[in-house]
């Protein structure tokens, strides 16, 4: 009976997490832990700003982040941070200011979720991308960020010049 209870509990956890949390199997962490890890590793930060129950987050998780090669690319090369757009959980910005996860949406002027933010290992924003994106989109963003192209040109300029 206890085992059945545990299975039910596990099933419940799964049911809640697939609705609009980070895509399953990715090592997303909270903002503060992610910032510390990025500083230590020197990896850029990929911040997924999602909302509990968000349909487009669910769509992106299923259509895009289910791609095994993309998962490997982002897991290997980024510090993965997940922030809940409506959460009162606290985080500390690089400036030292303490705000809630929801308040981070104010600072980002987040219109919609999902919102994807690329940051340097020190926490400085490189760019933010709203809405559903494909596997190829995320591969392009990766080349733009890790290739350092953002230092010389805009994303649009970079994408316009790709072969």
């Amino acid at each position: 009976m206890k085992r059945i209870g545990m299975l039910l509990a596990t099933g419940f956890l799964w049911a809640t997490t697939v609705l609009a949390d980070p895509p399953p199997g990715y090592p997303f962490v909270g903002y503060d832990a992610g910032l510390a890890a990025a500083r230590a590793s020197g990896k850029p930060i990929f911040l997924y700003f999602g909302r509990y129950g968000c349909a487009w987050c669910d769509h992106t998780n299923k259509q895009t982040f289910s791609d095994a090669a993309l998962k490997q690319l982002y897991t290997k090369n980024y510090t993965l941070v997940y922030v809940d757009a409506e959460s009162g959980k606290r985080l500390t910005l690089p400036s030292g200011e303490r705000i809630t996860e929801a308040e981070l949406g104010v600072r980002l002027q987040a219109f919609a979720t999902p919102l994807f933010v690329y940051l340097t290992p020190q926490g400085d924003k490189i760019m933010q991308i709203p809405g559903f994106k494909t596997v190829q989109d995320f591969r392009d963003y990766d080349r733009y960020v890790r290739g350092g192209h953002y230092k010389q040109e805009t994303l649009l300029e970079f994408l316009g010049g790709k072969s």
Partner: protein, 389 residues
């Protein structure tokens, strides 16, 4: 609807604003004041005294502060520190005769204190956060989000005041059963008959839904109902669980009424909008009403708060950046709808002004407090009073 129209008899006159004052005495680029709190109750007026509470990190850790001034005074007195340990999201409520009760989260649980003087009262032995208050006469209620197993749930306490001694008279969860998912950010409104309405964010439907319950005495609560008239459920494509809505605020209104205002993302392409629902005294909230006008449609709204009084005055405050930078906006209920959005003069224009909190005093004057951001000089907590022209 006739009752709602009568309650708005004074809603058309314009406001005349005082020169703004700075509330916080210490500021620098490394000090970050915050006015965030459950139900956005950061200012109160009692017996001609204005009280403002906020949190900042001037002492190297987040601490909660309170500053007061006689309504007619030209400046706030030096603030006092309310907390000893890490402190978050303070609120203040008026008790009359110049007395207040403040509450805040400290060391992981909820605390309250009568002011001036008064000892600190620990409201809960459990882990608790997002405490808020409502008072009508000597009737004082507090609510907070309390850890219960994996999730937090909403607990409402009735506080007793004997002399300068504040104590917990009753303490009840809104629902006896353990929460199925996270609950938080409670808002309270209490009326002259001693009844209390509580609203909160609730994730039992796998997305954030403002819910509401009522009690005649704080002991037994009605079955929770949704504030939003947006149904939960996946999209037509079977995705997600529903649109988001958050940070409900409540005010008692017009003697028997209660009004709720919250941030609502039902139009997901324009960010959060400000929505309201009115209960004219039936303990049932009516249909959802969009608060901000069409000029704010394509702009995300933040930090919405409702302000009302027993005289039937009702307005909503929030901030948005429709004019290029964040400004504080105000919209008043005219009996049928919320009127045109009006920028609060001292809290708009160049720079960023945000995070409004407000209250109406016994004479109907409006007191508004907000943050005026300056990355180099440091953020100011600002205050202005408005009277009817």
């Amino acid at each position: 609807m006739l009752l709602l129209a009568l309650l708005a008899s004074s809603a058309h006159a314009a406001w005349e604003w005082s020169a703004p004052l700075t509330v916080n005495s210490v500021r620098s680029a490394a000090i970050f004041p915050h006015l965030e709190s459950a139900n956005r109750r950061g200012v109160a007026v009692s017996g001609g005294t204005v009280a403002v509470v906020w949190e900042d990190n001037r002492d190297g850790s987040p601490q909660c502060y309170l500053a007061t001034k006689p309504a007619a005074a030209a400046a706030f007195q030096m603030e006092i520190r309310l907390s000893q340990g890490d402190c978050y999201e303070p609120v203040v409520a008026a008790l009359g005769d110049g007395r207040f009760v403040a509450a805040w989260e400290e060391a992981g649980t909820a605390h309250a204190r009568l002011l001036p003087g008064g000892a600190v009262l620990k409201l809960s032995d459990a882990e608790a956060a997002q405490v808020t208050l409502a008072a009508a006469g000597e009737r004082i209620y507090a609510a907070w989000a309390e850890q219960t197993g994996r999730f937090r749930r909403i607990v409402v306490a009735r506080l007793a005041l004997e002399g300068d001694a504040l104590s917990v008279k009753t303490r009840r969860p809104v629902e006896a059963k353990k929460p199925a998912d996270e609950q938080g950010w409670p808002a309270l409104a209490t009326k002259g008959d001693g009844s209390v309405t509580v609203a909160w964010e609730d994730r039992r439907n796998h997305h954030t839904v403002p819910m509401v319950s009522t009690s005649r005495d704080g002991r037994r609560f009605a079955r929770p109902a949704r504030l939003t008239d947006q149904a939960s459920g996946a999209s037509a494509e079977g995705l997600g669980a529903g649109t988001g809505a958050m940070r409900p605020t409540l005010t008692a209104w017009g003697g028997q009424g209660v009004v709720a205002v919250w941030l609502d993302k039902r139009d997901f392409l324009s960010g959060y909008d400000v929505y309201a629902a009115l209960d004219g005294g039936t303990r049932r909230f009516g249909k959802n009403i969009r608060v901000q006008d069409s000029f704010g449609d394509n702009m995300v709204q933040w930090h919405a708060a409702v302000v009302g009084d027993a005289g039937g005055r009702l307005l909503a405050l929030w901030d948005d950046a429709r004019d290029g930078t964040p400004d504080v906006w105000l919209s008043e209920w005219d009996g049928k709808a919320f009127g045109d959005d009006v920028a609060v003069p001292a809290a708009s224009g160049l720079g960023a002004q945000s995070d409004p909190v407000g209250t109406l005093d016994a004479a109907g004057s409006l007191h508004v407090v907000w943050l005026d951001h300056d990355e180099k000089a440091g953020t100011r907590v600002r205050y202005a009073r408005a009277v009817r022209k």
